[in-house]
Subunit: 242 residues, 2 copies
């Protein structure tokens, strides 16, 4: 197959559109970067096409050999990965037993880390609202491709919390002021953990809907943890066998 050398090639322009959220939402497709991420996409049957400066189709899907300039145009990283992939979003399925609710997490690295933690600790579904787009290439990369293994929804959290409470889910909020220490908290078999923004944590409006509130005990010199780290500790502390 011919090498695509021109950054203005029709196909390249179509792929490059996926760097924009609006186009990802419309096409239900997104870009993943790096061999490791694409291997996870392939495992989850989400990989549609691969793109690199080399020939060969390591994942058995349609492969396009391109110039470095084309690769750089499609990449969102300072140094493009050697291989990119076009991936499809999966339709949302039923939420399972363990849900992560994410409100206003804006840093791609933090959301990616939270997703990676989610898979490590057997989360079934992640629901985001007013956060960085979960299909942003930097989120996908920071998740180390774990985004392909979660059920993903985007919706306003107030209504969704009300809906799942009615279905018997326990809602666990994080509150540094009057939460119980994490080691005392017990998660129900069906539960949703609610995490808020990097700066302000979970807002009062959502906290008021929580069944229990927890905090991670820490030395007073340290005001807070990074939200990705806090997510990891909370999921570890609340884990059940899985």
């Amino acid at each position: 197959m011919a090498v695509i050398n021109s950054p203005t090639n029709f196909r390249v322009l179509q792929w490059a559109k996926l760097k924009q959220k609006i186009q990802r939402d419309k096409s239900k497709q997104f870009i993943a970067e790096g061999y490791h991420c694409l291997a996870e996409a392939s495992k989850a049957n989400c990989l549609l096409e691969t793109i690199s400066t080399e020939s060969g189709a390591p994942f058995g899907v349609s492969h396009h050999q391109v110039s470095y300039d084309v690769l750089a145009k499609l990449s969102s990283m300072a140094t493009p990965a050697k291989m990119l992939g076009i991936c499809k979003m999966q339709p949302a399925r039923s939420p399972g037993e363990k849900i992560l609710l994410i409100d206003q997490v804006h840093h791609p690295g933090n959301l990616g880390t939270i997703i990676r933690n989610g898979v490590a600790f057997c989360v079934d579904t992640i629901v985001t609202h007013a956060s960085v787009d979960i299909y942003n290439p930097k989120v996908v990369q920071a998740s180390q491709g774990m985004v392909f293994h979660l059920n993903i929804m985007k919706k306003p959290l107030r209504d969704y919390i009300t809906e799942i409470k009615a279905q018997g889910y326990q809602i666990i909020g994080t509150d540094v002021r009057d939460g119980m220490p994490l080691q005392k908290a017990r998660a129900a078999s069906k539960h949703a953990l609610l995490l808020g923004s990097e700066g302000d944590g979970v807002g009062e409006d959502l906290l008021s809907l929580c069944d229990i509130k927890v905090h991670i005990p820490m030395h007073p010199l340290c005001e807070s943890l990074n939200v990705g780290v806090a997510a990891g500790i909370l999921l570890y502390g609340l884990r059940r066998e899985c």
Copy 2:
């Protein structure tokens, strides 16, 4: 006091040298960025001078008003913080009861996050080897200024582990292959937790010196956690009252 407008001003050139590790090591000084970091430096009596585009000396130390160009020259961030500070390194003191040993952690954000976790979970001393410089401005910033609240040493870990083992410290290594599950591990009152590189974890040579080895149980789909997250979970799991 006159505003310093020129990026080639003698004083500016002296400060800018602190962006290099070799100069930091020589002068025992380093740059911290942002009001929050400087507040922590001030609490720890490490703040020597402040620099910003505004007048006023909010921390009661010598203050220099500079142009934006000068500030940008001194900053290591894509967008410079509004205020920078020149800080002094503190001499190493005795290590206390809880030590964190860091081998080959290369990403500034990860080392900064580990430091922040360290203060949160009452670590006394951090010892780094073959890692990104702990006084790198990006590490200092990612630590949220918590670097000012730890006793810091840099030294080869093999010899240091041998030394503290002889002093009765329990050495706890992390090993995804044959470590015990974290929830079963018990830390002695005097202990050192050993963390290895982002890609490869702790090397065999150091692991062989450990008294116990632990791992964080996780779903097989997820190969590993971010090292900053892993540090947080391990410190939480091994914590004692502090």
